[in-house]
Symmetry: C2
C-alpha cells in the first residue's frame, strides 16, 4: 500500500470507530434517560438495574450466584 | 396508578432498557470488528485507541495530561 493510501485507510478506520463510539454514547444517554423517567415515575433505578442483571442470567446461574452471595454475606457477618 | 398498570409500566421501562443495552452491545461489537479489520491490515489497535483518546481532548488538556504523565513517570523512575 502506498504511504498516502495507508494514511487514508487509517484515517477512515479511526473515523469509523469515532462514529460508532458516538452512537454508543448516544444509546448510553438514552438508557440514562429511561432510568430518569422511571425514577420520576417512582421506580427505584438501583432495583431496576438488579432486575435487568437477573433477567440476563440463566436460572441455574442465578441460583448459584445467590448461594455464593449468601456464603460471602454470612462470612462477613452481614447475612 | 392501578397496580396492574404500574406493573405494566415497569415491564415496558425494563424492556426499553434491555433493547437499548442490546443495541449498545451491538455497536460495541461493531467497534471490535473495526479494530480487528485494522489489525489485519497491519495497524496497531492499542496505538489507534490512544489516537482516538488524544483526538477527543482539547490541545490544552492534552498538553496538561502529558505534563502530568511526565511527572508521574519521572517519579516512578520510568521516564
Amino acid at each position: 500500500m502506498a504511504d498516502q493510501a495507508a494514511d487514508e485507510r487509517l484515517r477512515l478506520l479511526i473515523e469509523r470507530i469515532e462514529r460508532l463510539e458516538e452512537e454508543k454514547k448516544g444509546i448510553g444517554d438514552d438508557i440514562k434517560d429511561v432510568y430518569l423517567e422511571a425514577k420520576s415515575a417512582g421506580y427505584d433505578p438501583k432495583a431496576m438495574r438488579q432486575v435487568i442483571r437477573i433477567r440476563k442470567m440463566k436460572p441455574d446461574d442465578r441460583k448459584e450466584m445467590e448461594a455464593i452471595l449468601d456464603v460471602y454475606l454470612t462470612a462477613l457477618g452481614i447475612a
